[in-house]
């Protein structure tokens, strides 16, 4: 038995009733697409997207590095579409003091604090890998770029909080029969989380 997901040409395609959170994510990523900014959604929202029964206060994304001019266009579009930056109202400060320093800037709907989008430029090789090897998901014909599941599960094991372990188990249960095991094992080995792999199958 398998969740109603279609795997086609490296994409996952499915239909579901969208939540407020899903709709907000699509609003935000539509702005990134409009501005032709390469992005990838990582971490907790991926588990939620595939049914995990929990909420989140933030959605983590990596966006490609870009010059200030392009960032200002992105910023202006975000504000035009009803978002605002929670860290600073000055876009040049957001760019120079946060993004260029590899720190996150957070955007939320004007007047609200949660949920918010935690946006970063890639810093580590792993961040770059996520961005360059993203997985496209089509939900109700809308497209979303997410990090590969083969990386997400080991990374959640690496992070190691109760919430992260639960997310890893959820993704494992949903995708264990569809994973590229060589890639998955490669990340398990590189993140040195081999000892935690038993948690996925309940062998504690």
């Amino acid at each position: 038995m398998f969740m109603e997901l279609e795997f086609s040409k490296g994409r996952i395609i499915f239909e579901k009733e969208l939540s407020f959170l899903d709709k907000l994510v699509f609003e935000f990523t539509a702005i990134l697409d409009k501005q032709k900014i390469n992005y990838v959604v990582v971490s907790g929202y991926i588990a939620i997207l595939f049914g995990r029964s929990r909420n989140t206060e933030d959605i983590d994304l990596f966006i490609e590095e870009m010059p200030l001019k392009k960032f200002l266009e992105f910023w202006n579009e975000l504000y035009a579409q009803g978002f605002e930056c929670l860290n600073t109202s000055n876009p040049e400060e957001a760019f120079n003091d946060y993004l260029k320093e590899k720190l996150a800037v957070r955007f939320a709907l004007k007047g609200s604090f949660e949920p918010n989008f935690e946006v970063k430029f890639p810093k580590t090789d792993l961040n770059w890998y996520s961005l360059k090897n993203k997985l496209v998901v089509e939900i109700n014909k809308e497209k979303l770029n997410i990090s590969k599941i083969e990386l997400q599960i080991p990374f959640k094991l690496y992070l190691g909080s109760d919430k992260d372990i639960e997310d890893a188990i959820h993704l494992w249960e949903i995708f264990k029969d569809r994973l590229n095991i060589e890639l998955f094992n490669g990340f398990i080995e590189r993140l040195k989380v081999g000892k935690k792999i038993n948690l996925l199958e309940g062998k504690t």
Partner: protein, 53 residues
């Protein structure tokens, strides 16, 4: 009358360990249910939780 109940830290630790184990079992059980449930049904139930925000 005692001001505080007796607290057995070892017992508490065991309880936390058991709670965690049960929680992880529930995550597995929920994912199993999800896999055999139409998307429309599970997403509608998930939205009752998510849309509370």
């Amino acid at each position: 009358m005692k001001k505080f109940p007796k607290i057995d830290l070892k017992e508490l630790k065991e309880e936390m360990k058991l709670n965690k184990k049960q929680r992880l079992e529930f995550v597995r059980m929920y994912a199993e249910w999800l896999k055999k449930t139409p998307n429309k049904v599970w997403s509608s139930q998930q939205n009752k939780l998510l849309n509370k925000q």
